[in-house]
Subunit: 525 residues, 2 copies
């Protein structure tokens, strides 16, 4: 019996027995094999010197065939970064498939992320443990963490751990950085004669781990559906109470995918999209115009979505921040900073409310940089629009949704997707490949039609300047403002400004296929 | 077709056809009659002079019988105050029953609350309109507002409107103040030979409109379930990410019912309950101890629930605020206030972070009073606990949930309850009673077992000093810290502090009776 059985909620108890829908092929991993596929594009040539061993590694499609023998495998697994719904199902899918292939296989969970590898902190996952988290939210069975395995010492420590445990494979469930890390480890292990293979699984609620090969990471759907539920409720409140503008900031540090998905789901009066790269002044004017126009139409309420990463896209704010970082790095006292700024940047600085100015000058990260993510963009916008509209009566309420959606119960989509990814990882392990990420395609279709791939991670990578050094990275996928999905939003945007065409999706449902099996709206069809 | 049909979400579309479960008696209002019941208690004698006409009005139980003839009635209805899930179903129940009784009856919705009555701003509700909002959230079909009908001019204007419309009855759907208002109007209409009767319906998500007769208002269940969903998600995140204390403030200006309900549903590490009347210093120490103890147990995360009204229960803060109000009313400049405070109050004032001090001195309501509700209690507590634990590494995240739960889709409980209340109001209209509030009892049981009452509002009322005057009010019901429900929480409280017994209720479900038909946990059985 699960330790907290008495405490488990009735809905969770029900969800434990949900049987994820998966592609028919994945039902019998033992009868599958891999087939090399031609690459979508050649890897970036400069990566060859950093990744000599995996640089030319192929990607695979999955098909019926004999494949390798299903010998007993000892597999490590870890979560990296923020939680995402469906994570426990990756563990369940991996566990089930490993045991089906060979009952002597073992699955070792490293605790609290990569730190568990460095510190040899782990627990072997049992059927009882897995059965206690099927289709449930969170990463709490083994925890997660943000430690990276990057330095020479860390790489050596990781190699020591996987050798000590005699791991055949290590599965890393994480975002862009963690999958980059998976490639680095795969290469390092090959170079150092460590026989452990490394498999990546794409996770992030932000939805910015996307490419031609990877349509979406798991967790995005459930998080967006939870935010959309709340946005819908708030929009209905705005329309019922008729007295507030709700400024709703949504997680997504880099890209605006979450905001775009929620905008399509709920039809707010305005959804800002960072990737449009408007200036702060333009955005303030845009919102002020909206409030004015709605006032003329007798509407003193509204709903505005603000992506968390918005401020970093604003050209003049970006310049200001880089200038500030430079000046502060020279050890200049914060009080002197304003006078040292170039005219254009000083103007931007002066536009900001005092509280934000103070934050920029005094709240710095360990590297001395301005902590852009700490800036309450939703409050900044309210303050500046209030200044712009000082003669107009209107009221605003700020909100920020993030933690609410990372550990929700996975939607059927994420429960299916996570479980399928776990089983696909087991196939990668049976077939003894390394440096690949599990990729499932045609996600907008029903699971029977999903296509299975193991994509060479190197294919997703490029080089980027970080802290003055060329570093191999998987670039975060931004919202393509020339793409089909954004065009879909553009089509309704101006109508939604004035007319209240709010859509109220309601809470995630699990028990009626008409409403429980929907897929993300931003998945390209 | 509903105007926004194209925009309606799939779940809403499904919900439109949900058939609320109601007590069998309510299925045929035409065959019902009323029977006087002896009062639970005598009305407060001092009310007699204010309410000579309705002072001795009886309460009723509903039973089978002939009752009055079902003549055509013209009925007005309005929402008052913040929205609550189930409100549209009150309209639907009222509409359906009125039309069943006599197809020539009319239902007029006054727009945006009592202001609609004062301004004769209304629309007649049609079957099409009602069919477009069945089982949906919000009050947006007719809107709501906070205008009260209190002054002699307002009372006269209301009388003029109901006469002009030839209303047989006016149904007021609202909280304690609005139902007080209903009694005032009922009395006024009787005294001024206006034939319109007034019926109250108990609404408020806060759950503080409770008495021996009224077990609960509609909207509480859905709001609490929405908050509990989010609290559960955040608790799971805390346990997965292991790095934050989440301070979650929950709506409920006066009483802590919402917090208590959510605490029973989710088992946070601590739920503060205003009614315990602890001092600010005690609460800060309590939280600091909790953080310290959990740190010793290797846990650097946690979940703490904070009722919105907490600060007004703290004895020393209450004193400080009343002192501040006095000094500020004398026109003393804010800068001089600190020196004018008595020693004990000055000490309390100095304990507060500067931001809160400034709020107390400068943010005043139109009457010059300190705006206690504007104080971000969750941030205040974080700041003070940080001060107390300055040598300890810990991080906190504030949250505030309120608007998220007022306009959600009604749970099956609130959909049933709201619809039943609407039908019961129609019976009150058929039977031509006035000054009564609709009351349904045994709500913890299934709808077949609910008991139906029409309670004379005067019985719920008492006199209270407000702004130096004796005013008739329905007292807000606070959490009874000597009662059974609080004892139930006390039983788990200390264990929940250290052990993580978080319970994750998940989103409201509608399609599986095992999980969709639950009732509030704080309903006494």
């Amino acid at each position: 019996m699960h330790k907290n059985e008495g405490m488990i909620s009735p809905l969770e108890k029900k969800r434990l027995s949900y049987v994820p829908q998966i592609p028919p092929l994945l039902k019998n991993i033992g009868s599958l094999s891999l087939e090399e596929v031609s690459r979508a594009k050649a890897p970036v040539a400069e990566l060859k010197s950093l990744f000599p061993r995996i640089f030319s590694a192929p990607s695979y499609r999955v098909g019926k065939g004999k494949g390798k023998a299903a010998r007993a495998q000892k597999v490590g697994v870890l979560f990296s970064g923020g939680p995402a719904a469906g994570g426990h199902n990756v563990l369940a899918g991996l566990f089930d498939a490993l045991k089906e292939l060979n009952s002597r296989s073992q699955l070792i969970g490293f605790l609290n992320g990569a730190a568990g590898v460095l510190e040899s902190h782990s627990k072997e996952l049992s059927a009882k443990m897995i059965d206690g988290v099927r289709n449930l939210g969170g990463f709490d069975l083994i925890g997660s963490g943000r430690t990276k395995i990057e330095t020479a010492e860390q790489l050596a420590a990781a190699a020591e751990t996987v050798r000590k445990y005699s791991l055949d494979a290590l599965v890393i469930i994480g975002g862009d950085d963690s999958n980059t890390n998976a490639a680095v480890l795969a290469e390092y292990f090959l170079q150092h004669n460590v026989s452990t293979r490394v498999i990546g699984v794409p996770k992030t609620i932000d939805g910015d781990l996307r490419s031609q090969e990877i349509e979406l990471s798991f967790g995005f759907d459930s998080a967006c559906k939870t935010y959309a539920e709340l946005i819908g409720n708030i929009a209905r409140d705005a329309k019922s109470s008729r007295k507030y503008y709700h400024f709703i900031k949504l997680m997504g540090r880099s890209a605006s995918h979450i905001t775009l998905e929620c905008a399509l789901a709920t039809h707010p009066n305005l959804a800002l999209v960072g990737e449009e790269r408007k200036t702060l002044a333009e955005i303030v004017r845009q919102i002020a115009d909206l409030v004015r126009k709605r006032k003329q139409a007798g509407k003193e309420y509204g709903v505005i979505l603000v992506p968390e990463g918005l401020i970093e896209f604003m050209p003049e704010v970006k310049q200001l921040i880089s200038e500030l970082n430079k000046i502060l790095a020279e050890g200049k006292p914060p009080a002197a900073v304003e006078s040292l700024l170039a005219d254009a940047q000083r103007q931007t600085f002066r536009l900001l409310p005092e509280k934000i100015q103070q934050q920029l000058l005094f709240d710095r990260d360990p590297h001395g940089n301005v902590q852009v993510s700490q800036i309450a963009t939703e409050e900044l916008l309210i303050e500046l629009v209030k200044r712009e509209l000082k003669d107009l009566k209107w009221s605003a309420q700020p909100h920020f949704f993030g933690y609410e959606g990372r550990c929700c119960l996975p939607s059927n989509f994420d429960a299916n997707y996570g479980y399928a990814l776990g089983r696909l990882a087991a196939l990668a392990i049976k077939e003894e490949v390394t440096g690949v990420i599990c990729a499932i395609q045609f996600l907008a279709k029903s699971p029977e039609k999903w296509a299975l791939r193991l994509v060479s991670i190197i294919q997703l990578m490029c080089l980027e300047m970080r802290k003055g050094k060329q570093k191999p990275v998987i670039q975060k996928a931004l919202v393509d403002i020339k793409g089909k999905v954004f065009a879909q939003y553009q089509k309704v945007r101006s109508t939604d400004e004035l007319e209240d065409r709010y859509r109220y999706p309601g809470p995630i449902q699990f028990f009626d296929p008409d409403v429980s099996d929907s897929v993300p709206l931003t998945l390209e069809r």
